[in-house]
Symmetry: C2
Subunit: 333 residues, 2 copies
Amino acid sequence: MSRTTINDIAALAGVSKGTVSRVLNGHPRVSERSREAVWRAIEQTGYRANVHARSLATGRNNAIALLIAAASDQLFSDPTFAELIEGVRDGLLETDLSLVILMGGSETEDHRTVSYIKAGHVDGLIHLNPFFDDAITAGLPDCALPLVLCGPRPPIPLPRQNWVVTLDDAGGVRQALDHLASRGAHKIAMIGGDPRGVSATVRFQAYRDWLGASFDPDLFEPGDYGAGSGQVALARILDRHPRVDAVFCASDRMAIGALETAYRRGLHVPEDLLVMGFDDHRIAALADPPLSTIRQPIREIGRTAVQTLLAAIAGETPSDKVFPTHLVVRDST
Amino acid sequence: MSRTTINDIAALAGVSKGTVSRVLNGHPRVSERSREAVWRAIEQTGYRANVHARSLATGRNNAIALLIAAASDQLFSDPTFAELIEGVRDGLLETDLSLVILMGGSETEDHRTVSYIKAGHVDGLIHLNPFFDDAITAGLPDCALPLVLCGPRPPIPLPRQNWVVTLDDAGGVRQALDHLASRGAHKIAMIGGDPRGVSATVRFQAYRDWLGASFDPDLFEPGDYGAGSGQVALARILDRHPRVDAVFCASDRMAIGALETAYRRGLHVPEDLLVMGFDDHRIAALADPPLSTIRQPIREIGRTAVQTLLAAIAGETPSDKVFPTHLVVRDST
DNA sequence: CTGAAAGCGCTTACAG
DNA sequence: CTGAAAGCGCTTACAG
């Protein structure tokens, strides 16, 4: 009843276990004859190599970790985030690496996560949502593992081996604002993301820079990327500035919340108010009215993050990747 | 620069590596003197035991897998689900087990997940959302690992060692319906969950049974637990039965969608229509009007699932656990 | 192309 | 209480 090991296969195939190992690892110099015998034995027994023995012998874990700074409700309820994970899984599909998801948030969790990484369980790291102050990133600067960040590089100490795979946040914001301006908007408000997030801050700065001297802090309101926060944020902005003629939201879900507030206040979109989202998630096209937005190749970002990490683990020298965004015009503008 | 091993610690502490190992594993018969010397050496060097070597020697993985049948947007956007994961992490906090999250959905992913499990990477399994037809469960009946299901036991072949840790779905439904009836409702509609899910089906059956002869299929509409689906579902029900006087939703988010539809159709809640949710998630109390609902101890379910699994792994014989639900009355009824 | 052997870093009876 | 030794299941130079 005990698991079958490499010795069983060697005996069955009539070769040494060294040869079995070579077949298993696709070593080129193995005779056709041995190779066949070994595979036959493997199929017969349903043998699988013991991962721990292999890791012990090779010094590699064959696993990478997915880091999530704050595993809040907001994050889990972010469809964009789910798609990013999908992309990561896409990228892993052809490898035999396993994915360990590590979440921070509370002090205990942050500590556990850092400690898990330092215990040497994984060969590389992908950080899904870097925060300025997140304890995971803070605990990692002296870590020798390669790290890929899905988002702008935060201005804090990072492990030596770090790469960024992200979208052009600032460019996307400018595309949105240019479009709203071209539609005749004069007073453009913005609903931003969680200010602890690096990418949310970059988007806010791009908004401020674009407006230049005419930037008015009262026209900006932070949210949490969820619909509820968009609803509340637009209400606040309208209370301060009833004459706003456009609102740019840093996520489609917040834009949908904003549509709701506009509806409740009797404002017609796009006649009285232009509304734009960000992401081009599926819900954008289904909104009422369909939402103009900025499309980002989120799934591809996840996929590319894995490729970059694998290259780094293999000792190559990949480069940062910044994906362009695309303007998608629908009825809301 | 190479990692410090148990030999380094043994040398530093002036003992054999056997003794180091005993200290590490909390073996009782070690002299105070040795114990102190070993701990001092460990702190000095920041030593951590190599998990693969340990697993190879003990035959245990010190890891459990969290199974997720369909990692769809809907699921990720389910706050209840996020809380279940929180509970699992709570339960794991004091152990040194690691958590591997395995997701199914596509054929490739289901296959990979089953294959990962069979490769012997983990010591036990927790299935978060069993589906009737999910390929993960289907691939597991001949698996020797203990499995804990967070949901009703599906009527399909399961591994020998399986336990259920869940809430009393049927009881919760009856609590809701009794309450609505006590408020004078005569025509109670229901918006259910994804019919592929076992728990959604149990809730539907409880609804049908409660109504008995007066059950009318036209008063039932399935959803996906999300707000959008609740919105659409209530609209459909009202189109067929304008005189419905109460609607019971299998999630708070669907109930919020239903509130939206009621609002748009000019129906006042609770005067014209009673609306109830399920879960008692934070959003229920914040809804307008605040939502009556059925509270389930979701986080505790996650925590208990881990405890049950750990007991099973340790060779004990835990029992199934079914948590009662509680009626929470607010303004929507 | 392939076998014998050493080694990866732990744990755990076995003696003492 | 503790050391020496065998063993967990692989990989990989080293010879041949």
